[in-house]
Symmetry: D2
Subunit: 165 residues, 4 copies
């Protein structure tokens, strides 16, 4: 299908949380995305950049501007962004209002990849497929589904992403 | 995006192999697809049918006719087929020559899902995304890529699916 | 070797922590000890009791008295206690000063069993072997080693249990 | 407890089987014992030697003599041997008839460590604990239990090791 290079931008989120066995707390170290692509035997032409490694509840307007600038300026027209689920829709909205000529898919995970029962690998698979096939626009890929940026909402009681239309 | 019901047809393959600890041999028991959808927190409307549980090297012409009939007759227009990788291209060709009005995506795994380092969950994610977004046709989804049925080949030396065009 | 019934007392600790995917926090639900014994194909005669499910930093003197009473009163002479690592040596001391006629082995884990890279299954194996073979006394089994209750210390910088003699 | 160096002799067995994703067959590559000791945060003084990497059904009298010689000649008095379960009792008998002054514990696994639901880590934990605490003699450690070499039998219908006395 597509043979263009895809850019993956890493921002952190549950995807990449680790357990610190000395403090008993969750923290960020290195991203697991390269390991996950290896596990998926992925042969797409991919360029990975880590922009930040944060919980999306801590993400500021400046952080979102940084993500927006990277998306606008990079050579690739197909971009996957790994992101915490709590504010994924806000970041999607910032991108959606400004970028019209690229296909951008945000995805995340409800449980850390390192913890064994994560949806991360499944979600990364869906995001990489959606980004190859969807027309320009900004989307959120979660729960096997893909939502346009302006009609998605995370139901915090259930942890499920829903359409607002 | 799509909100149509998707049909998943299970035929076996490495995806679903298990280790028999009494004999030391690999065998098929129940499919892991329901577990994998649960792990992926998948919320698509999906109907799963197990047609057979076999190694694709054992798949006969009759088996392929059975798969073809199910694809042709089911109500769903979007179908994912889990299949052994060794003869996935043959089954795709049987379907591709006969079915023009449905989107059918075959996928599989290089290592059993139960064995811990499988590409199965990633591939299932890509297949479910491709089946929602691609136009009618028969495709093979492996290694993060999606190939039309008439231009795909498994390189047996590397275990990687390649385009023949 | 031993064919006596062994009692396992569960008190919580990192062993049994889970990830709450709605809040992003760690919490206790059910103990994983029965699953771990099943995974280990364990055929020992074991009776499991959950006394509490807490982080050992929250353990009070009353909690320790409760553990002591259970150890003193139960019919079994061989007891394994799963416990958070942070205050394991304090609980071991409370038991060690009072109980002389039973073999009691405390063990724990540096990472939650549910998180994939835990030492829990290894430690449970060592604890169950030590409790079958050691003479009456109170011990801590961590890092493949077994320490008498009055000569063990957790090095918090390294996360390793060390002998104080 | 014990602070002597322990020798681990690797002979292969289910413990160390891998899945070859190009052929779909099980095979031996490198031993997982070092990874397992790391996962167990093991701090025992251990020296590991790989003697062979074979299925124990293929083990010959010459192979068993090689194991016997290593056990007899090595400096360590405490030895753990990882071994396929099918003929573990035969090897234990060869060692038990010849060696009286060392503590030797054979252990194995019913499912490969690499496959995710293995008893290997649990069994390795029990073997390392038994080898530190038992008097000289040759033993088999499986299912949480430890059997003297001359009173153990693998029940092939159930996959469980049983006492013959």
């Amino acid at each position: 299908m597509n043979s263009e290079r895809i850019r993956i931008l890493i921002t952190g989120g549950t995807f990449d949380k680790e357990y610190n066995e000395l403090t008993g707390e969750l923290y960020f170290k290195d991203s697991h995305i390269p390991d996950m692509l290896r596990l998926g035997r992925c042969r797409l032409d991919i360029d990975i950049r880590t922009l930040m490694m944060i919980d999306s509840l801590q993400m500021t307007d400046e952080d979102r501007q940084l993500i927006l600038e990277h998306c606008a300026r990079c050579a690739e027209r197909r971009i996957v962004i790994t992101h915490g689920t709590d504010t994924m829709e806000q970041t999607a909205a910032v991108l959606g209002r400004s970028i019209a000529d690229k296909t951008i898919v945000l995805t995340g995970a409800m449980a850390p990849y390192a913890f064994g029962s994560s949806d991360g690998l499944f979600n990364l698979g869906t995001a990489l497929a959606f980004v190859q096939t969807l027309p320009p626009g900004v989307y959120v890929a979660m729960n096997g589904r893909c939502f346009p940026w302006n009609s998605v909402h995370k139901n915090r009681a259930s942890g499920v992403f829903e359409s607002t239309v």
